[in-house]
Amino acid sequence: MGEKALEGTKVLEYASSVSGPYCSKLLADLGAEVIKIERTGGGDEARRRGPFLNDIPNPERSGLFLYLNINKRGITLDPKTQTGRKIFLELLRWADILIEDKPPKEMEELGFTYENLKEVNPALIMTSITPFGQTGPYRDYKAYNLNLSHGAGAGYLTPGGSPNLEREPLKGGGLFDDYTAGLSAAVATLAAFYYREVSGIGQHIDASKQQSVMDYDRVELDMYPNTGVVRTRLKGKSLGGAMTRCKDGYVMPMALLGPQWDAFIDFLGNPDWGEKAESTGLTATLEPSEEFSRHLSEWMSSRTMEEVYHGAQAKRVPMAMVSSTADVMNSPQYKARGFFTEIEHPEAGRLKYPIAPYKFSETPSVVERPAPLLGQHNEEVFSRLLGYTRGDLVRMREAGII
């Protein structure tokens, strides 16, 4: 009790932006010791992206960076220099796990292939998270979140329920797909770590972001080879149309089974225009008639989201409320689950962060430190962990190595 799930697990992160840092954030929040390497100069690219506190750009006040790097120690290092390279390898010897997201070519040029790195640390687990994986004709292709979303086939299906194909397919909100690619890599990384604990054997994981994101849509996407059906975002070919506007926003009745549908009609007050389901089995009422939808819109228009959501759920109707970020951050349910934590950061101050979607009875997620300032832990890591002197540090800083 009181121990952390990944206590003592040592992770070296050589990654930037979203997917790689999110992968190691997941480990850090469960107690892994993560040392994050940022490039000398500007540091992680996420520092240059908003949202910024009070909308004033500042690399220490990027919400994206602050969120993705909780619980990590941060150092700056240029592994392209001879000394930087030496230090990188010293850190690698310390680490159990390396999470990296560099283009495969760049790692090869640095001599940081798995084959080379395992000479330095034979039991190393190395997870490489790149847009299209380490092999294949697209392995050197560049992809931002937008390209990932579309290149993995998720975009083509979005937004479901489109009336026609006039408009462009869309990415998911925010940087969603970049996050989910990091999540997928984290599962493989921990499984490999488990295997290492049992066997002593390390390995390399080639995590293709494209394949990770495709995998989430597997049921839609493999319909083509199996049935010849190409799924699109068209209405009638997707589960659209159930979203309904009420007074202050959208709700979504998801009464997909017979008994749920009947409960829904009950909730509506058994109006003339609402027919009950004929059977009580698995009756999917996916697209109600236009007449029904018209009446339903009218019924909803005088009611609030909260009223509809809680009222319907009280009757066991799977009703959902389309929540804005304000709704999420103010949700009594999330609060009751302890989903938020306030974290004090020297530059950004005290802010409320969402933490973990899971609760462990014995090893709760912990916040021990806010995201690091650029190079904040140089001295701690280089001096205390690796044994360099203060003088070494000064000279390395002057040489642009750290």
Binding site: A5, G153, A188, Y195, E197, Y358, F360
Partner: protein, 404 residues
Amino acid sequence: MNRGALEGIRVVDSSTAWAGPFVSELMALMGAEVIKVESMKRLDHSRVISLSTRQRFTGTDQSSVFNDLNFNKLDVKINLSEPKGAELLKRLVKVSDVVIQNFRPGVMDRLGLGYEALKEVKADIIYLSSSARGAEGPERSYVGYAPSFAAHGGLSYLTGYADGMPAMMMGEIDLISATTSAFAVVAALNHRQRTGEGQYITVSSSETIAVLIGDVLLDYTMNGRVQFRDGNRDEIMAPHNCYRCKGDDKWVSIAISNDEEWRAFIDAIGNPDWAKGERFQDTYLRKENEEELDRLITQWTISHTHYEATEILQRAGVAAAPSFNSEELYNDPHLKERGGYIEVEHPVIGKKAAFAPSWKFSKTPAKITRHAPLFGEHDDYVFGELLEMSQEEIKALIDEKVID
């Protein structure tokens, strides 16, 4: 023959639909032995229907959707609402490492199969409960499906055209929730390996989505700003959109983050006159004049296929990718070379294409070793061999509709 990373781990899974079963599928792909528990009374409904793709299947063993979500697993019939069924499950738990369930919170407790009860049977059991809103809090008994999780996680609101409705998000949401759960379970396995201690994990599927828009939530925390959906657009980057290409419903996504990429882009599309003007000279201006920019870029993309456009731009170091549909992905040379799809033989529905596991492990390859189990396919192995029950005992339980 290589071992899987989770070989030696046994999982008992009573979950149904998508968000539960995919947790144990990920583990099964990595070598865990997964025993799925169903009953005639509580058949996993993805054997019968797919709400997302609108497919219906006859019998219990014809569902390609069920196949996709249950590779490598074993399947037994236990009616958990019978007291003897609950006892039988406990015998199984006694020889297992992980229990996965996604009943509405409280149901397993009523059946006498809550964490505390199973911990008495197996002290170091890892027990996962996954539900729409989590097992705690005022909304713990609320029900929902994948689109509900996306709605409550704040993702739907942020997805869609700026002048349109929030987007309904589908099956992928379940599998993301499942992947999050799998991460938690494997973390707990690591902890148990080190300390011998099991534990109880609760997952809120809505929260599994909310954490994926953490930066947007921070904008609310920091600035009180409620971000709105805005198509493919980005806060800073422009161009950043999907552009129409030659062909029917063909599009290429292009994203440019700095001046260097912009110059490469302009070069690659042949230095058109419009690009020389002042309107597009820096990132700020490009974002300011984004609509016009998008229109001009389409003049170039429309005369190329999305493959051509991608290749030209990638060669120049510009991030571009087609908005692939499922047919294109299946035939794509890159995925072919990486072995993205494999064929799995199923005794009832025949040969099916399936996604190979998305990660490539150098030592412990994740793999599909067999089709999803037929309903009750492994009753003999699990009851007879694993639990060493006599034929008489098994028969008696069948007669009493405990094994059913």
